[in-house]
């Protein structure tokens, strides 16, 4: 199974995401922001970093990169798409998922081993987890506070689209402790913490993050997102 990993100028965690894909048993394919083609991949990851230096707003410029056009179309057609951290911000800017990521409430960049609870195990990226499984993966960002209006929040809660929540103290001021959400169809997931940095206890706090990558492979073997 081929999983594309997009590199924008300023992307940082692309090699980490590719490593995680390989560790889960997939084939990682490099996608370049300036090429409007997906090279026949079965799913795509938008990795973390500071694409375009976070100029204007995080993800606001990347969202207009040539690669985004075929990607948005494919994702709307059901292709699994995961946005991690800066990738989550790109997804929000591209309106593939609702809401926005704003400056952490305490105004500092925060890098910490974060416990999150997986609350929806039916998406393309979370089906390897047990419901309400608590996992520890790195959280590292300056603008990770998830915000949306009350109506959207009600909808997300009501439809079970909050896929992961922070456990314990709110690390950044996100509404309802939201760490990750999905679209209606469950193929697109935006996630603030970094599962690609938790694929081996040698280099991360745990191997808990691997589940996101094995999930998508499982999804693809089963014939794609529902």
């Amino acid at each position: 199974m081929k999983i594309g990993v997009v590199t924008f100028p300023g992307t940082l965690d692309d090699r980490d995401a590719a490593r995680a894909v390989r560790a889960a048993g997939g084939e990682a394919i490099e996608l370049w922001h300036d090429d409007a083609e997906l090279k026949g991949v079965d799913a795509v990851i938008l990795p973390g970093g500071f694409s375009y230096g976070d100029y204007l707003r995080c993800g606001a410029i990347s969202r207009f990169s040539p690669v985004m056009e075929p990607l948005i179309a494919a994702a709307q057609g059901g292709m699994p798409l995961l946005g991690i951290c800066n990738g989550f911000q790109v997804l929000a800017e591209a309106h593939l998922i609702p809401g926005a990521l704003t400056r952490n409430q305490h105004l500092h960049f925060l890098c910490t081993d974060q416990t999150i609870r997986i609350e929806n195990t039916e998406t393309a990226w979370t089906n390897s987890f047990r419901e309400n499984q608590e996992i520890v993966i790195p959280l590292k960002n300056g603008e990770g506070s998830y915000q949306c209006d009350d109506e959207t929040l009600k909808m997300l809660e009501g439809e079970g689209r909050i896929i992961a929540r922070y456990v314990g103290e709110n690390p950044n001021g996100s509404r309802n402790l939201i760490a990750g959400i999905t679209n209606e169809r469950g193929n697109i997931v935006g996630l603030m913490p970094h599962p690609e940095h938790a694929i081996n206890p040698l280099t991360g706090p745990s191997a808990d993050g691997l589940g996101f990558f094995t999930s998508v492979l499982k999804t693809l073997v089963a014939g794609g997102a529902k």
Partner: protein, 743 residues
């Protein structure tokens, strides 16, 4: 103002020039005239002034620093030595590692965020320039008292600047130091270390060889920031009054640097450059004169081709600007097309600004008029050399007479109070408030980072080869005895990587001192260099490069002599490293190394207002046997954990170990106050499984390292004799300090 050309300099020899305002002394100005056989043009004067500044020319330190070469050990491990942008060390399996520390002290005081950020940016470009992919950074930092108003101004900005720049470059921050002392008030120290990795064949040097080859400037456009940063800022003492120096601080853009790194690595991978130099201190003046000196000397540059952010800049300003994120490459004409193509892919501005000639002069024109015509070596390497007067300051013998006898805990209540005090004092308290603002995970190869003894990164995912780095300074000891202080810092850094099982290979340094024009400071400096050179020779470790920062003083008060020593080591399999703390109960805790009663220079003495006494004498033979023991024990998997003892002694090491994985320990100590609070060098605490104790005892006997059984691991408290401190209480004391101070 009309252009001051070479022709004008000849025609108008007596023009009064502002050399003093540019930081040059009258005799230095005279020798420039002698070199050129005429007065310099204003552009030449600009170049000489920045390149002959203390920061760039090492004019006060050179006569001492040459000991690092003279006393150097013969080693095959050193692939590139002192003099290039950074030294390069062979770490096996075809890999070479380059590492270096630089200071960005003065800019960080003026403008904390940008000063610290561009300090990271500068050292990263030095590493990149060697042909290496930067893989990690570390930041040894020093501040005035933690509760001082100015510390609250500079510390948050400096931390945010280090994080803001390094995080955005995708470089894990794997360690460093945060130390407070009143002498750093007004003179914070921001030292930045970067390490990079490459294959042997990829090493790049700063040389402009081959007539006809092109000089290419690429990266950010040149602006008016950082003009005279090295001469006006870094080479003068701050006075309480005086003009604002803010415009002399550079402004960084890490996004541009990140793109520049990826672009450069792609260019290197296709072998498209003959020589390369980054633009840091002294900007284009430095890059052009150093590249030309590295070749035959001939180079022509058309300065009007330099892309500008501000079109009103004069040629002198263009030559002196320290705008960040710029590189200068020497490229063969046949490869220029591909070079420019890669720059275009990354949206990096690149411009051919000149070419290498077979002459011996660096000639710079502006709109067709010759404004610089100099032998480049005279700018880059033949600057003034001062053998400045030095004299042992009076304080040294005075404070040696001080009796250092702070009150020591004896009963349970006092032990508990002392432990909580040590846990919470700013110099020893948990630094997560700082390090949580740095990304330690990016690149996915971080094995160890703060609060471990050393930072460790994997450099090969298949073979698990890795490198470890530690930086250390003990300014309290350097103050009492700079010769021993330097040796002790070296030993501590080496020990800090050996506890994990990494073998020390090479040394870098950042020597932070007051004004070299003060004979007492110069004596401290000379003694430090002598100590470090002797220590490196004795331990068989080459010095691969370093940095000197003088003028860290406000008025007549200099900082404590602060030689920050970095040691790099190699570990064959990072999976087999010895961790810094234990994850099991029931392990035996031992102290390796003897403890004496001298509290001079200790944190406990400092907490009681005592800074005098006599520094310990470094026993490097013993340190080397201890390192041997640690490496052998690692190979034989004898230790469940090993943790260095340094500032704060056994007390803080125990605190850090029990809090790491929330597993307590019970120890019983004779002479409990000294046992907990003495900082005798050459000691390590280890945790050993009961079945491995006898093998370990044999090893210690063979290496002649004294041993002392302390107790066992387990429980939910740190128990010392009859004092019990719950881990919860201990954690609160250890972790609240920074939150309370800095929010």
């Amino acid at each position: 103002m009309s252009l001051d050309t070479v022709a004008a300099a000849i025609a108008n020899p007596d023009l009064k020039q502002p050399y003093a305002e540019l930081g040059l002394k009258p005799d230095e100005y005279a020798s420039i005239k002698e070199i050129l056989g005429r007065r310099p043009t204003s552009s030449e004067l600009a170049m000489y002034s920045v390149m002959w500044s203390e920061h760039c020319s090492y004019k006060s330190s050179k006569v001492h620093l040459k000991q690092f070469g003279e006393k150097a050990v013969k080693t095959d491990a050193l692939l590139v030595g002192i003099g290039e942008n950074a030294g390069v060390v062979d770490v096996g399996q075809g890999y070479a590692v380059t590492f270096k520390i630089e200071s960005h002290n003065h800019p960080s005081f003026i403008e904390p965020y940008q000063g610290a950020a561009t300090g990271v940016g500068g050292i990263v470009r030095d590493i990149l320039t060697m042909g290496a992919r930067p893989i990690a950074v570390m930041d040894p930092l020093r501040f005035g008292p933690a509760d001082a108003a100015d510390t609250r101004r500079v510390l948050p900005g400096i931390i945010a600047g280090v994080g803001g720049y390094g995080n955005c470059l995708g470089l894990p921050n794997i360690g460093g130091e945060v130390v407070f002392d009143e002498t750093y008030l007004g003179n914070p120290l921001v030292n930045a270390l970067c390490v990079g990795v490459m294959k042997h064949s990829d090493i790049k040097l700063a040389k402009a060889a081959g007539a006809g080859n092109l000089v290419v400037l690429y990266g950010a456009k040149t602006g008016g920031d950082g003009i005279g940063g090295v001469s006006v800022l870094a080479s003068e003492t701050f006075e309480s009054k005086g003009p604002a120096k803010r415009p002399a601080v550079q402004v960084g853009d890490p996004f541009v640097e990140k793109v520049l790194i990826e672009c450069s690595l792609e260019i290197f991978a296709e072998d498209l450059v003959v020589g390369i130099q980054d633009l840091g201190g002294a900007g284009l003046s430095c890059a052009t004169s150093e590249l030309a000196s590295g070749g035959s000397g001939g180079m022509k540059v058309q300065l009007d081709k330099v892309p500008l952010r501000d079109p009103s800049l004069s040629p002198e300003e263009i030559l002196m600007s320290e705008s960040q994120e710029r590189m200068c490459a020497i490229v063969e004409p046949s490869k220029i097309e591909r070079f420019l193509e890669i720059c275009k892919k990354w949206d990096v501005t690149s411009t051919v600004i000149g070419e290498v000639t077979d002459g011996s002069h660096l000639e710079i024109t502006f709109n067709g008029e010759l404004i610089v015509d100099v032998p480049p070596r005279t700018v880059a390497h033949d600057g003034p050399v001062y053998n400045r007067p030095l004299a042992k300051p009076d304080y040294v013998d005075e404070v040696a007479k001080d009796v250092i006898n702070p009150p020591l805990p004896t009963n349970a209540a006092e032990i508990k109070e002392a432990i909580l005090k040590v846990a919470a004092t700013p110099n020893l308290a948990d630094k997560s408030w700082v390090t949580d603002q740095y990304d330690r995970y990016v690149q996915g190869n971080t094995i160890q980072s703060q609060p471990d003894d050393s930072g460790m990164v994997r450099i090969d995912e298949i073979t698990h080869l890795g490198v470890a780095i530690a930086t250390d300074a003990n300014a309290n000891w350097s103050y009492l005895n700079p010769y021993e202080g330097a040796k002790l810092a070296l030993a501590e850094a080496a020990r800090n990587i050996a506890t994990a099982g990494a073998k020390p290979l090479a040394v870098t340094n950042c020597l932070n001192f007051g004004s070299p024009e003060d004979p007492g400071v110069m004596w401290q400096f000379a003694e430090t260099v002598r100590g470090l050179a002797d220590g490196c020779l004795e331990m068989g470790l080459p010095v691969t490069g370093g940095n000197v920062s003088f003028y860290n003083q406000t008025g007549s008060v200099a900082i404590l002599p602060t030689p920050v020593i970095g040691v790099l080591g190699v570990i064959e399999d990072v999976r087999a490293r010895t961790p810094m703390s234990f994850t099991d109960a029931g392990l035996e805790l031992y102290l390796l190394g003897a403890t004496d009663e001298n509290l001079s220079g200790s944190e406990w003495a400092y907490l009681h207002g005592m800074r005098g006494g006599i520094a310990p004498t470094a026993d490097l033979q013993c340190e080397m046997r201890l390192i041997d023991l640690l490496l052998t024990a690692n190979k034989e998997s004898l230790f469940a954990a090993a943790h260095d003892l340094s500032q704060g002694g056994l007390a803080i090491s125990l605190i850090e170990m029990v809090l790491r994985h929330n597993i307590g320990a019970s120890v019983s100590l004779e002479n409990v106050g000294i046992s907990l609070l003495s900082e005798t060098p050459g000691r390590v605490i280890v945790a050993v499984e009961p079945t491995k104790v006898s093998a370990f005892q044999n090893l210690a006997r063979v290496k002649s390292i004294p041993l002392q059984n302390l107790g066992t691991t387990g429980g939910d408290a740190l128990v010392i004799n009859d004092a019990t401190i719950s881990l919860t209480e201990l954690r609160t004391a250890h972790t609240e300090t920074f939150k309370k101070l800095f929010g």
